[in-house]
Structures are given as structure tokens and as C-alpha cells.
């Protein structure tokens, strides 16, 4: 028997709770879900299959991250495509979008194809490069968006993440231009003048700590402008890492008006607040900053009611020296790929705000749809690509950054006990994670 695609074996997943519902057997063969049934053990189709006992585990579609910093090329000391995608697989992801702020910036077809190829070679997840909106993230001139869209990387998501496309004319043009290939602008909403030197959320805590404030209005004013621009030019807008209650209100208003806007929230903004900054521990320094508890509650409600569409990790690994320094000198960002599932379980599922089916929507179906991914974020049905994850929701584990696959040790959850553990991740029918530990990359990849 010869086939163009490498063989990925046959696996029988026994008695997994599909999206938190009824238990079923899933048969995975040649990269797709071949059969689903109440009991497939002993059936001819399952003959020779590797049996995976999954009783008590929840089967979910492979998670899709629209917001990951893989750092390669340029900052391989912080993360590489290889280490970042290992972390992703362990976290339950089967696809990540690599943000454009690498060095060189992913603003040409050449760079996005390089990142795309590195992902292919690693073979742990699909790596989808995000293209820069402007040349060098400089906010002056549009990058070759069409060339990136037409490249082998088939870029659909464009972002200057880390930097806001603050020029209203440039933002308008970008929103208009990507309509030509059904792209989306993912905006990092941060008015630059209002946040010069900003260190943390502006309010009660910043006033006491003497750290320059990062006002909510700096985020909200950009979102308000951008949804109106998106409406005006009839394009798609995606808002990265929404962090304030006011932003939620604006997005809710825009959606009610029929504006084509989607929004994302990070796991850390669903849990952590500015109170942590009182320690001056730079592990809590992040962009956008940790906000107040009212904001956290508003973000959770918005994710539950669909105002916020997706979880994006904003996984931002940094070398130790970027955090072992003064707060004002420290780099912004937190790792997130290996804690995202657990933090969302803790903040949204264990609080009763969401079900596992909702979880599948915000971590897989919706982000894949925004990124226009054809073979990710698909329902767990017969004939669909076998991108799925098995989760033990009853597990408890304590976060130890030193044991993570990411190079970054900057997890704000270090030392905390979290619920939920990824037991297995199937990437196009191949188990990249088995028994909670890294297995092997997709067959035929270089790593």
C-alpha cells in the first residue's frame, strides 16, 4: 500500500466524553476520524488499533491559538519554533499563529515562508505565520500583505502586535486592503501617546506604587475608532487581548450594530489583577497590563456571552535576564501555552460560566474561523481531520516553569495549583502527546 501522506497509525480512543457530553469511542485512522460509536472495541474497523483508555477524559477539538510569540527568527534565546510548538502540543494545541514581531519582522513573503517551513519541519502543530501590517512594524507604510497572503504560508491574519497601528489612515487602508484576500487585521489596541512610559494599569494601585499609569482609555479609544473604521470600509477587524470592561462594552455595542468585529482575551486577563504588581515582580508585567477585578469579571462575562469570541494566549516567552531586573526595565509578557487550558477551566468552567462545548468554541472553532483555517477547529465528526485533545478535568497540578517545554520561565502562575491536564494531543491523526508527556512529532517532519 502506498500513499502520498505518511501513515499515522490507527488509534481507538475508548469512552471519552465528547465535548463534555456522552462517552463514546473514536477511531482515528490515516489522519481522520474514521468512526465514532458507543463501543467500537472488537469491531473489524478497530482491528490492530492502538487502544487509548479515555474514560473520565474529555475529548475536545485541538486548540487553535491566534496569538503566539514563537520568537524565531531572531530571538532564539527566548524561544524557537521547535520549543514553542512542543509547548503548544503539551498545552493541547494543534495550531498556533506565530506573531510577526520577530527579527527580521515577518513583513515579507520570505520571512513568513521561513516560519511556515520551520513549523512544518518541527511537526508538533500547524504553524500559521501572522504577517506584519506595516513594514518593520514601523507604522509608516503597508507591508506586502498580498504577497504574504499568496505565499506558501497563506497568511490571513495581519498584525503589528506589540505595537498599535495608531495612524487612523493607515489602519483604514489596511482594513480595506485585506478584503481582497479575505484577511483580517488583528489590532493591538494601545494609543501610543496615552501610554508613553506606561508600566501598569492606571488607578488605585499605580498611584500608590509610583508606576506610570496605563489608562483603560488608551485601549478603549482605539477599539472605538477601529470598529467605526471597520464599519465604514466594510471589513473584518479582530481585537487582540481585550483587557478592560470598557472595551467589552464597545465591542458589545459594535456587534449589536452588525459590525464585523471579533475579539480575544488572554487566560491571564481572566484571572490575574493589578494587585499582583504590588510585589514589583516583573513576571506580572504584561501588555496590556493586568487590570482591576471589575475588568476580570467583565471579561469572563463577555467570553461566556460571546461578546469576546476567543481565547488567545499571547504566549510571550522571555529569557530570565529580561525579567530579573527593575520593573521599568523588564520585558512585557508571560508564557501561556502550557497553562491556557487549565486557567480557562479554572476561571470559566469551574465557575459555571461555560461548558466544555463552549470551551471548544472559544479555543478551537472560533479562532480557526477567524484565521480561515480549513482543517483546524473542525467538529469531532466522522471524516474530519483528527486534530483533537484528551483532557483529564479532575487532575490537579502545580505549575513549575522549570519543567515546561517552552524556553520561557516567565509564567505568572508559577507555584499555583491548577485543574485539568492534557493527557493526549492528536495532530492530524498522530499523537504528539501521550500519557501527558511529549510523544513524537508528526511523521516525516525533521525534528
Amino acid at each position: 500500500m502506498s500513499t502520498a501522506t505518511p501513515t499515522t497509525g490507527t488509534y481507538l480512543i475508548r469512552q471519552a466524553s465528547v465535548l463534555g457530553g456522552d462517552a463514546a469511542d473514536l477511531l482515528i485512522r490515516e489522519g481522520v476520524i474514521a468512526e465514532i460509536g458507543a463501543d467500537l472495541l472488537g469491531t473489524p474497523a478497530a482491528a490492530g488499533a492502538t487502544v487509548i483508555e479515555a474514560e473520565g477524559l474529555v475529548a475536545l477539538p485541538g486548540m487553535v491559538d491566534l496569538h503566539t510569540h514563537l520568537r524565531e527568527p531572531g530571538r532564539e534565546d527566548a524561544e524557537t519554533v521547535e520549543t514553542g510548538t512542543r509547548a503548544a502540543a503539551l498545552g493541547g494545541f494543534t495550531s498556533v499563529h506565530a506573531m510577526a514581531n520577530s527579527s527580521p519582522v515577518a513583513d515579507t513573503a520570505g520571512v513568513v515562508e521561513q516560519v511556515y517551513s520551520l513549523g512544518k519541519e518541527s511537526g508538533w502543530v500547524d504553524v500559521r505565520p501572522v504577517g506584519a501590517v506595516t513594514v518593520g512594524l514601523a507604522g509608516k507604510q503597508l507591508a506586502e500583505l498580498g504577497a504574504m497572503a499568496d505565499s506558501r504560508a497563506r497568511v490571513r491574519v495581519f498584525s503589528d502586535d506589540g505595537i498599535c497601528v495608531s495612524d487612523p489612515v493607515l489602519m483604514r487602508r489596511a482594513l480595506e486592503y485585506v478584503k481582497a484576500f479575505d484577511g483580517v487585521i488583528a489590532q493591538h489596541a494601545q494609543e501610543p501617546r496615552l501610554t508613553e512610559g506606561a508600566q501598569m494599569n492606571e488607578g488605585k494601585v499605580s498611584s500608590v506604587l509610583g508606576l506610570a499609569g496605563w489608562p483603560a482609555v488608551a485601549e478603549e479609544s482605539i477599539i472605538a475608532r477601529d470598529v467605526l473604521l471597520a464599519q465604514h470600509v466594510g471589513s473584518r477587524l479582530h481585537v487582540c487581548h481585550v483587557s478592560t470592561a470598557g472595551s467589552v462594552e464597545i465591542i458589545r455595542w459594535a456587534k449589536a450594530r452588525g459590525i464585523n468585529v471579533t475579539a480575544e482575551v488572554t487566560p491571564h486577563h481572566l484571572w490575574l489583577t493589578e494587585e499582583l504588581v504590588r510585589s514589583y515582580n516583573p513576571v506580572y508585567k504584561v501588555n496590556p497590563p493586568l487590570r482591576a477585578d471589575e475588568d476580570v469579571q467583565a471579561l469572563r462575562a463577555a467570553l461566556a456571552d460571546g461578546t469576546i469570541d476567543i481565547i488567545g494566549t499571547d504566549h510571550a516567552p522571555h529569557p530570565d535576564e529580561a525579567k530579573a531586573c527593575e520593573w521599568a526595565q523588564a520585558a512585557m509578557g508571560m508564557t501561556g501555552l502550557e497553562t491556557a487550558l487549565s486557567v480557562v477551566q479554572h476561571t470559566m468552567i469551574e465557575t459555571g460560566l461555560m461548558s466544555w462545548a463552549d470551551f471548544a468554541r472559544v479555543t478551537s472553532f472560533a479562532p480557526a474561523a477567524i484565521g480561515r483555517l480549513a482543517d483546524q477547529g473542525r467538529p469531532l465528526e466522522v471524516g474530519e481531520p483528527a486534530n483533537l485533545v484528551l483532557v483529564d478535568p479532575a487532575a490537579r497540578w502545580t505549575v513549575d516553569p522549570a519543567k515546561m517545554a517552552t524556553k520561557g520561565r516567565n509564567s505568572p502562575f508559577a507555584g499555583r495549583e491548577l485543574p485539568g491536564a492534557v493527557k493526549a494531543t492528536f495532530f492530524r491523526g498522530h499523537p504528539t502527546v501521550l500519557d501527558g508527556v511529549l510523544n513524537t512529532p508528526y511523521p516525516g517532519s525533521a525534528s
Binding site: V205, S207, V208, G210, G213, Y280, E326
Partner: protein, 345 residues
């Protein structure tokens, strides 16, 4: 107390203990032999990431009067400014067996990071960090106020707090670590604090602070005040549109000659004028006000050494650095004051 990082978490008991101990230290400064052997053989490092000759020599004098060895580490212009991290610097000091690190830093929170990181074992004393805190400045201000109150009442300042004292702090509160440290310390000591500043120079969140806030210096003065503390304002703030011009600033928020005269008109004969220095004469304070008999500017400088001696002594002596019994609370204290004895002060 293990470290002195801010005044927010300083208890009334500890604050009064530092002030009382500073009174005893002040007596030493009046003697021919201005030295005590208390910290002999111990090492104090002055770690200054920001220039401040005044604060550094104050801490240096304090440490030397207690017989400690002093190492001055001016991080500016050394390897630190070339990218050596706070961590590496801290570990260098640890290798030099520093018993206390007096740190001045341009970054808010650097002293707290040093104290809580586990990088060093020394006591950490915040000598001013960014726009966060300057606890020894607040303590010397409180010490100055307490002496003023005691002198007016003809009583001993030992054991006393500042209950009922009305203090106005005016100027660039937003960028002032002195204001932040004073608000909490003075509140703890029982004083009533009112901040006066242009709205642009007050932080968002000031409404949560334990003090009152006003935009109108004249009406606050008219309502009665025992101490006016003027904060330094940098003329460059004008370029960032915090206020339109230095002239408008000094007219509305400066302590000028007219306001100095107004204190007399209002019958506030015992009101003192304070300034942490260095002063911008003619901007936030007029020369007449700075040099008037009401001005405590030089007393503040003098008291700074006593307060810093007390701080170093209380943090560095004592294996466990436990809470010591309050100074001067012996029952025979009143007996002492009741006799014809000249206090050795």
C-alpha cells in the same frame, strides 16, 4: 522590621520607635565626640543608581556616627549603566558581606525587589525609588514636625505622635515619592493631610489615599494649617503640558511672598514652611519664604542624619531584628525632665 521600604506598612509603634530613637541619636550630634560604637565592624553599602549627593552624605554621616564601615557604590557610570542587572549588582554586594544596603534608584520598586528577591541577605533601606517612596525623608519630616509641636506645647517629644496636626503638601504630587511617603506616615501618626496641586499633577487613584485633595492653595491656607510642605516642581514639566507656564504655576500653586504675608494676616503665627530640597526658588517657593523664621529647611537636613542613624541602628543591631521596647518610655523619664538636669542634647 527587617527592611525599610515604604511608610505604607510602617506601624504607629514602629514609627514612634524610630522617631524616639532619633531623638537619642540627635543628642549624639551635639556632643564633642559625635560617634557611637554601636555598628562597629558592620558594613553599610550606599548603592546609588541615581545622583543624590545630599541623601548619600546624610546616610554616610549617619552610618559613620554609628561606627559602621561605609562603601559608596555609585552605580551611575559604573558597570550598572552598561547593562549589569540589579541581580548581578545585588550578588556582588552579598559577596562583599554587606549588612545593610541603602539603595537609591530611579525605578519604582527596585528596593522592594532587592529585599524580596532572595539575592541578598542584608537589610534594605529605601533611600528613594522612582516616584514611589522615600521613607527616611518622610520620617525626618515627621521628626521635624513633632519637635515643633513639642516646642510649642513645652513638652517632650518622646513617645508623641502628630494627632490633630494639619499638614498641607503642595506641588507635583504625581511625580513625588516624598509626598507618597508623607501621606501614609503622617496619617499613621494622626495628622490630617491635604494635598494641593494642579489636577494634572495628581495621580489617578489619589481619591483612595488617606488624605484630602484640593486645587486651591489659598482656601486651604485660610482654613488653618500647622505645616506647609512645598514639593519641588521641575520646570520641564511645562513642556509636557502639566501646566501652561512657570509663571502661572507659581502664581496659583507656589508659596510666594503674598502667601507668606497671608499667614500673618490669618493669625497662623506658628505655621512652619517645609521643603525636602533642593528648592527651586521663585518657582514653588519664594526666597523670602525659604529664608523666613518659619522655614524648617535646614532643620530638616540636620534631622535627616538623626533619623537615618535611628533607622540604621534599629535595622542592623539585633540578631533577630525583633521589635525593641520603645525608647525613652522609662517611668523615670518625667522625673528626669522634672529635675534641674540639663538634657544632654
Amino acid at each position: 522590621m527587617r527592611h525599610l521600604l515604604s511608610t505604607e506598612d510602617l506601624s504607629l509603634e514602629n514609627a514612634v520607635r524610630i522617631l524616639d530613637t532619633a531623638e537619642e541619636m540627635a543628642a549624639v550630634g551635639e556632643r564633642e565626640v559625635k560617634k557611637l560604637p554601636a555598628l562597629r565592624g558592620r558594613t553599610v553599602v550606599n548603592l546609588f543608581f541615581e545622583d543624590s549627593t545630599r541623601t548619600r552624605i546624610s546616610f554616610e554621616a549617619a552610618a559613620k556616627r554609628l561606627s559602621a564601615d561605609v562603601i559608596n557604590f555609585a552605580a551611575k557610570g559604573s558597570s550598572v549603566s552598561k547593562g549589569e542587572s540589579l541581580k548581578d549588582t545585588a550578588q556582588t554586594l552579598e559577596a562583599m558581606s554587606a549588612d545593610a544596603v541603602v539603595i537609591r534608584h530611579w525605578a519604582s520598586g527596585a528596593p522592594a525587589q532587592l529585599a524580596n528577591s532572595g539575592w541578598i541577605d542584608a537589610a534594605v533601606i529605601n533611600a528613594g525609588d522612582g516616584t514611589h517612596a522615600h521613607p527616611t525623608q518622610a520620617l525626618l519630616d515627621a521628626f521635624t514636625m513633632r519637635r515643633h509641636l513639642a516646642k510649642l506645647a513645652g513638652t517632650s517629644s518622646i513617645g508623641a505622635d502628630l494627632t490633630g496636626m494639619r499638614v498641607v503638601i503642595a506641588g507635583d504630587v504625581l511625580h513625588s515619592r516624598v509626598a507618597r511617603s508623607n501621606v501614609w506616615l503622617l496619617k499613621t501618626l494622626g495628622a490630617e493631610v491635604t494635598l494641593v496641586a494642579p489636577p494634572t499633577l495628581l495621580p489617578i487613584g489619589v481619591e483612595y489615599w488617606p488624605c484630602k485633595v484640593s486645587y486651591d492653595l489659598d482656601s486651604v491656607l485660610a482654613s488653618g494649617v500647622d505645616a506647609v510642605m512645598m514639593l519641588r516642581v521641575q520646570a520641564e514639566r511645562m513642556n509636557d503640558s502639566f501646566f501652561p507656564s512657570t509663571r502661572e504655576y507659581s502664581r496659583r500653586w507656589g508659596f510666594d511672598d503674598a502667601r507668606l504675608a497671608k499667614l500673618d494676616t490669618l493669625g497662623l503665627k506658628d505655621t512652619i514652611i517645609m521643603h525636602p530640597g533642593p528648592m527651586n526658588r521663585g518657582l514653588e517657593i519664594s526666597s523670602a519664604a525659604a529664608d523666613s523664621p518659619r522655614s524648617t529647611v535646614l532643620a530638616q537636613v540636620r534631622n535627616g542624619v538623626s533619623v537615618r542613624m535611628a533607622t540604621l541602628y534599629l535595622l542592623m543591631s539585633g540578631e533577630l531584628r525583633e521589635n525593641a521596647p520603645a525608647a525613652g518610655t522609662t517611668p523615670n523619664e518625667t522625673t528626669l525632665n522634672g529635675t534641674t538636669l540639663k538634657e544632654f542634647a
